[in-house]
Symmetry: C2
Subunit: 233 residues, 2 copies
């Protein structure tokens, strides 16, 4: 009988923000798989390191640094092949996903390759979106607010249109777009409601006013435009 692939949401960074369910699966499966940079430590593995029982096989999915090649189709093809072989032997595999597997997660690449032929169970996790709101110490969305998640690589006009039509926003994938996003928020009068959050819930967590956001920003960062806080009813 074929094994099960778990898409395991392990939360935003604090090892204690993993769910009881993910924790139990993590300790039970014989094989774990996780993304890692081309060289060096995997953040996903680091998040769960204290929970690992020891003795598990580890499938390391090393992503090439070269942005033009990311996400390299061959890397996921190869990882999917290794996971498929493991499942077909009858072993369960837990793919570690920072945050939540189905919310901008790279797990989608494994899911697309394996879900049609193998049993896949997704365990939702705490997203960096709400972790960042907790770090900023303010409600992100209330009542009848519209909340929009906007990737920073979109064009100025695309970002502007979304910001105008929303009450709250999360702007992700900041990278080298911080200056541009800051200008747009200023132009729309949203600077005061915007916070920059880096590494939410990790020991390296930083929350900064928009003006002090680093440019470029690291991968695990976002800008939140909080609800204006008026409780309307």
């Amino acid at each position: 009988m074929s094994g099960t692939l778990y898409g395991l949401g392990i939360g935003p960074g604090d090892p204690e923000l993993i769910t009881l369910k993910a924790h139990a699966i993590l300790r039970r499966v014989p094989v774990i798989a996780y993304p890692a940079p081309e060289q060096g430590e995997s953040l996903a593995r680091r998040i769960v390191a204290a929970h690992l029982p020891g003795g598990q096989r580890e499938i390391v999915i090393r992503m090439p640094l070269d942005a033009a090649r990311f996400p390299a189709r061959e890397v996921y093809d190869e990882a999917a092949h290794e996971i498929r072989t493991t499942l077909d032997r009858g072993d369960d595999v837990a793919a570690l996903c920072e945050g939540d597997p189905f919310l901008y997660g790279s797990f989608a690449y494994l899911f697309a390759r394996l879900a049609a032929t193998h049993k896949v169970i997704v365990v939702p996790g705490v997203s960096s979106l709400t972790a960042a709101a907790a770090a900023a110490g303010q409600p992100l969305a209330l009542q009848r607010d519209v909340l929009t998640v906007i990737p920073a690589p979109l064009s100025d006009d695309e970002i502007r249109r979304r910001l105008i039509a929303t009450d709250s926003a999360a702007i992700m994938k900041l990278g080298r777009h911080v200056g541009r996003v800051r200008s747009l928020l200023g132009e729309l009068g949203l600077s005061q409601r915007a916070h920059y959050i880096e590494h939410a819930t990790m020991t390296s967590q930083m929350v900064l006013p928009l003006a002090e956001a680093p440019d470029p920003a690291p991968y695990f960062s976002m800008i939140l435009v909080m609800s204006d806080g008026a409780l309307r009813r």
Copy 2:
């Protein structure tokens, strides 16, 4: 010394989808507070029931059924007063929040009344948003997708404009608006990408095609318009 108020994300419904962190706080605090209907059982309390150590004091925040009075200002004033008195005695209080406290959570009403004068720590939780995507078994947002959370009580035109400008969407607070939302999704050619999810991760979970969504819908339900699934890079 004053106690700490925890805004405790307890997840979407499955008792195992609480985090280790929330679980530890839940078992440690002398007092818990949670919303409940005017009569009958609290869903929040039911989610954590198996985790409670016993012997805690419970502050029950009973919400009036009458929609015109919800959220009744006096109910939150009274609850905040009781929590404040408890904190001032030096006792910690955990306010149980379904999903995440800062993402459309009623915790905002307590936060608004107590955060300026008392220590408040928010523990993020698994949101019903990603729980519903896991239930539907498809990625909600990928790569450079824009994701928009849209409250169904908005006008047809407001909903239409947001749906046109987004890649993925979650439509919440469906209530009596299901038929109207279904028509709008059909008009925009989005019906095939839309799923109706009720009570995600609870034993009563249901996932239905849009055409079969009940009208009116219960409180813990939403319609997700999934990413078109094209992995663009």
